[in-house]
């Protein structure tokens, strides 16, 4: 699995360096101007962005592989398809971890940083960020792994269409608006609760379990889908 991760890092070095440069620019701006942001959860937002960059990189790499038709090369290497998928998941988490460490380091070392690190490294923020991203990427990764670049497009178009349909229904069937929006509202309230002062250690353990379970399910589905993929 380590060889596969190493291969991805070598093949995508330029791409990763470009993202790193863009991320550095964004973080420097954010760290310098943090006090001007009105949102009370701004350090959490910064962490969320860092995780997002890490996780989305993996989808980008997958899509690049599909576009460059190098997936045939990966699948002809001496490793099973299950290992290939497991390596993708491991790489996603590795990149998220790297993004977390990099963001923290910049926040701690840059003299103009206005972010309070003790707030930024809040376990609640981190777990809630990971939960949100896990939900998105648990769906997106199997799509990408099964359908490649087309999968990303399908996912994005699908998400847009669902959003449009929801808006359309909410607008034209006014009575249904509250029902439609209530699950989303409940989810947002739930996340705010988990990130807020009322949540306890038990809640956080449950969040961690949910993250692990979602990842395990996504990994299992992705492996089953990738085993059926033809090149």
């Amino acid at each position: 699995m380590l060889k596969l991760i190493r291969k991805e890092l070598i093949f995508n070095r330029n791409n990763l360096l470009l993202i790193l440069a863009l991320m550095t620019g964004f973080l420097m701006y954010f760290l310098a101007r943090a006090e001007n942001f009105k949102s009370p959860g701004r350090p959490g937002f910064m962490m969320f962005c860092a995780f997002y960059v890490g996780a989305s990189l993996c989808v980008t790499l997958e899509a690049r592989e599909d576009k460059g038709k190098t997936a045939t090369l990966t699948c002809s290497l001496p490793c099973s398809r299950k290992t290939i998928v497991a390596a993708r998941f491991a790489l996603t988490w590795l990149l998220m971890l790297a993004a977390l460490i990099y963001t923290t380091a910049l926040a701690a070392l840059l003299p103009f940083s206005r972010v309070d690190l003790s707030q930024a490294l809040n376990l609640k923020f981190i777990l809630v960020s990971l939960l949100i991203l896990t939900v998105v990427f648990a769906v997106l990764l199997p799509f990408t792994i099964r359908f490649g670049f087309v999968g990303v497009i399908l996912f994005l178009v699908g998400a847009q269409l669902i959003g449009l349909v929801a808006l359309f229904v909410a607008k034209f069937i006014k009575s249904g608006r509250a029902e439609l929006l209530s699950p989303l509202g409940a989810a947002i309230r739930g996340l705010k609760f988990l990130g807020g002062p009322q949540s306890t250690a038990v809640h956080l353990v449950l969040v961690a379990v949910a993250i692990l379970a979602l990842n395990a399910a996504s990994l299992f589905i992705s492996q089953a889908l990738y085993a059926r993929r033809e090149f």
Binding site: G68, T70, T72, L73, C75, S76, P78, R228, E230, F231
Partner: protein, 289 residues
């Protein structure tokens, strides 16, 4: 007894408008087998099934005596695979591609790889996309050879190559099997290449194996019968595989040279067919030219 490095039996794969039907053949160790057939016959499908790049619907593939699915990593570590269009990342230099792929192979031979780069005049620091098709094929071959693969699988490797490198490649493949440990399975529709180096030939047509045998045996037992239209009745030619008629008379391919000679005697003349003749008559040869 000669042991087989690759055994394919009862392989089936269906696509819309095409089916690979019950394909069976074996590649003995220390030999070169040519997989021939017209475009769309199923050659690439067979190679992809051996590499598990596509899923089989029935049949079995054993490489080095191991099932290619159950022992996938082990089997692939001993195969050198050269694609018809090498699919390495375009923006990466050759040396970086090598550094990413070499650790996958425990038998990786770095001095050999360096030597091959020099022999093939490959610029290690150049990006893959800047290479010509021939250079790309050379690089794919260098990678396949540098991990001391026991079975080299090549899908249409000579298509689009200039004659100089084609000759060089064929020479290298012939040299490769001299130790009698390694084998090559080489798909191509350029039959002249195979005539030069193949020990065995498997002919695929419309997804089915027409024959799989030693090349010399095929070229000895098959014969091209040429006769005047009124001298020979086509339906009376034993082992008839295909024929064409034209203003110069009848040309027919038979897989039973001895019986054809006995039956037709001096009414016809007999020529040794080339693999191209065989491919033509089986694919198309059943009517007027």
């Amino acid at each position: 007894m000669m042991d087989n490095i690759l055994e394919v039996s009862g392989l089936c794969k269906r696509y819309k408008g095409f089916a690979l039907k019950d394909v069976s053949f074996a590649v003995p160790r220390g030999t070169i087998m040519g997989l021939i057939g017209p475009n769309g016959a199923g050659k690439t499908t067979i190679i992809k099934l051996i590499m598990n790049l596509i899923r089989r619907q029935a049949g079995r593939v054993e490489v080095f005596g191991l099932d290619n699915l159950r022992h996938e990593p082990e089997v692939k570590s001993r195969i050198g695979f050269v694609y018809d269009t090498p699919c390495f990342p375009p923006d990466i230099s050759l040396i970086r591609i090598k550094s990413a792929l070499a650790p996958f192979y425990s038998a990786w031979n770095e001095p050999l790889f360096r030597r091959l780069l020099e022999e093939f005049e490959l610029p290690a620091k150049k990006k893959f996309k800047t290479l010509s098709h021939g250079m790309k094929m050379k690089f794919a071959l260098a990678l396949a050879l540098a991990h001391e693969a026991e079975l080299i699988l090549m899908d249409e490797p000579t298509a689009g190559l200039d004659p100089v490198f084609r000759q060089e490649l064929l020479g290298r493949l012939s040299g490769l099997i001299q130790d009698e440990r390694k084998s090559v399975l080489f798909s191509s529709h350029i039959t002249t290449d195979l005539e030069k180096i193949a020990d065995y030939v498997t002919f695929i047509h419309e997804g089915a194996v027409v024959f799989s045998a030693a090349k010399d045996e095929i070229l000895e037992t098959w014969v091209l019968v040429k006769a005047g239209m009124r001298d020979v009745d086509v339906s009376g030619i034993p082992g008839l595989r295909g024929y064409r008629t034209g203003k110069f008379g009848l040309e027919a391919l038979t897989s039973d040279a001895a019986a054809a000679r006995r039956r037709l005697g001096s009414k016809a003349v007999y020529d040794k067919p080339t693999l191209e003749d065989i491919m033509y008559f089986i694919s198309k040869g059943n009517g007027h030219a």
